[in-house]
Symmetry: C2
């Protein structure tokens, strides 16, 4: 693979699987490419989110809006520039604030293959 | 490992190795932890940067400022929210703009062990 630069304009958002909320993902690099990580953008409508047991290690960087992250009985508010590390096997609840949220994510291995 | 949320206030910046510029890295998760990725924040002073042949796959997300990325004879300007994927084995030149740059990064495997 070559060095590549992406913006959110490159993202083709699809509804995140196995949930009915307004939570969307857009893989830019994944199992179709020769790289060990999946890279993408995520988008959450205001107040929407999901609860998930992680099938992979997922690193989420908040770019716009706000998120509340609940895990192990603790809730943390995340502001833009915040990084959330969700290790494989952990359960986490992610809920967007009143302005929704735009995220970047990197997973290892590829999340779509690990489901 | 547990789910963890980080902000730049958690970062302890150190000069990036093998270069004299004002380029700093701050690992939050790395080979000291039980995770397959290194996660951290990076900081570039205005006009500073580096040229590197990637020892790992490195995903850099620009949080503040601007960066120019040169690889394979092409230079791309990156704005906040932009994602740069630098695959293992590729050479890349990263230079910050006049306001410097704050980045988040995720590498696989751990960049400090792969050097």
């Amino acid at each position: 693979m070559k060095v590549r630069c992406y913006t959110v304009a490159d993202a083709r958002f699809e509804r995140s699987p196995d949930q009915q909320g307004e939570v969307f993902t857009a893989n830019l690099v994944d199992e179709r490419h020769d790289a060990p990580v999946t890279i993408g953008y995520g988008r959450y409508a205001p107040g929407h989110g999901l609860t998930e047991t992680m099938a992979v290690d997922d690193v989420m960087i908040l770019l716009e809006g706000s998120l509340s992250i609940t895990a192990n009985g603790t809730t943390t508010q995340v502001a833009p520039g915040g990084i959330v590390h969700m290790p494989k096997g952990e359960e986490v609840t992610i809920v967007a604030g009143e302005d929704g949220a735009l995220t970047a994510y990197v997973t290892h291995p590829h999340w779509r293959e690990a489901r």
